[in-house]
Amino acid sequence: MRTLEVVPLTRVEGDGGITVTLDGKKVKSVTLDIHEGPRLIEQMVVGMTPEDNLNVVPRICAICTLSHKYASLRGLEKALGIDPPEKAQVMRDLMMLGENVESNSLHTFMLALPDFLGYPSAVAMLNDYGDDVVRALRLKKFGNHVMQVTSGRIVHGENPGLGGFGKYPTKKQMSEIALRSKELVPDAVRAVELFGSLEYSEYPEAETTFMSVNAPAKKFGLAGDSILISDGEETDADDYKKLTSERVVPHSFAKRSLYKDKTFAVGANARMINMGKRLDGQAGDFFKEHYSDRWLKNPLLNNLAQAIEMLWALEQMPETTELVASMEDPKRAEPTRLTGSGTGAVEAPRGILYHHYDIKDGLVETADIITPTAQNLDDIEMHMKLCAERMLADDKKDAEVLLALEMIARAYDPCISCATHLVTLKRL
């Protein structure tokens, strides 16, 4: 018996590693080990007001900060019977577009691309792909700017609130974002072309199930009240527990999820599989050009999906900002009750994020947060194990196997900090 290890797993958010346990050439297990400690956020917010909860829960993560804010808002507003005005809804769409560009640009160009091009890091890539590194920085900076304008700060902005926003941006700010988003479209196109031209290994391929929100009005989007499943089913977001039966495993400080006792995936790939046909513009054209049955089997294609999605996000901004600028600043909508329950489901860059709250007499009674990475962990391990088995059967070297496994884990763009927001360990 011997083990192969990747510790730490770099170019992901948080502290994790990979362990492959071998018995001769037979792979006994492949685990994505989560070392980051539990953070107990769900217990921390019990007894808080919804407003305080809304300030605390985004601190789960500085990468997906606005996704946590938005999921929390959607859950709390349902619980309290708040119907936010249309301008607030559009602003929330815009802030999510900004976060998507910020996160996907960094992941595609800087964290994932070096592996595919054979470089140890983005730094090593700089001499040959300097322009692409600069593209990534330009896109990330712009994503950060959109987040700052909409939420008030680059990280943990407090402008979005229950029933609306503290302050709405000026028309000038909106027209600047519209102009800049158009200017940056070629950078996103370059990302799509790069990832569309890469060779994707067949070793990790296996059928799995994909889940995403069902965005309203039959459009591609990042929030919705129901969940689309690639097997053709659709489930109300309030029934999220049926989709994410959670459990604890010894090697992880993050919970795991299964659907019908099988692994499933969430993320850009899942969004493309479930809603890609709704894309228009250049993003729609690229989706049609690149989409194939391999998307249903190969997790590495999540990188290409992220690139197409980043292009979609930029293409959405002119219309979205114009809509924001055209509407009067509304007052915040007020709660219509102090006791109730609600679930918010949004698409963080790395997949569906659920926030569920039970509010009693104006205070949080229970909170349940299920992050995309927690949903993906079992699926990552499934693909990694298959990949390791196949590569070792083909007499591939240990270093090649480990790199392939790292690429699989990284393709999901995991956020380990998010995934360890709560876990209960039972020692027998």
């Binding site: 730490p8 797993l9 770099t10 170019r11 992901v12 958010e13 948080g14 502290d15 994790g16 990468i63 996160s103 960094l106 992941h107 800087m110 964290l111 140890p120 890091s121 983005a122 730094v123 090593a124 700089l126 300097g130 590194v133 600069v134 920085l137 330009r138 990330k140 900076k141 950060n144 700017h145 700052q148 700060r153 680059i154 990280v155 763009d413 956020c415």
Partner: protein
Amino acid sequence: MHKLRHTPGDPEEALTEAVETVVGEGPVYVLGLGYVDKADDGAGVLVANTLKKTFPDYSFSEHDGVEGVVLDISQKTGPGTVLFVDAGDLKAPPGTIGIVTRDQIKDTEISTHRVPVALMAAIIERSGKKVAIVAIQPKCLEFRAEVSQEVGRSVAAVVATLSRLMQERNG
């Protein structure tokens, strides 16, 4: 190997001399890194925020989106120097200040979803500017704890030194 280990109580001239060895021609930019809610970890941000009051166009912190700032600086023509200021484990007494030169910034990829300092340094260097890190040895990294006295004194020393330098270089 660090150019200098300035310990609390050392004359500031020594720190000034050490910093000047890594500064080239043109203006000096300061980028403060760290997490202010974790006591001494926020030393770099404290330095940058203090300098920003006098040099708003030359001093930036984590909260300004450092990757974007790096991009903007790298697109400016002409020479200059970017000094990252951050808490760093120098294996030295708390408050020790170390100057980490460009060749000592390793291409290590810490496990996080952000642009590595080594990459930002490389991008700045490509634009013809110099880069170094001013590191301060932390004592306390506890959440919501106060900045330690040792690091507080070093933050003041770094601010005084960089302030004089930026006054000379940046006008």
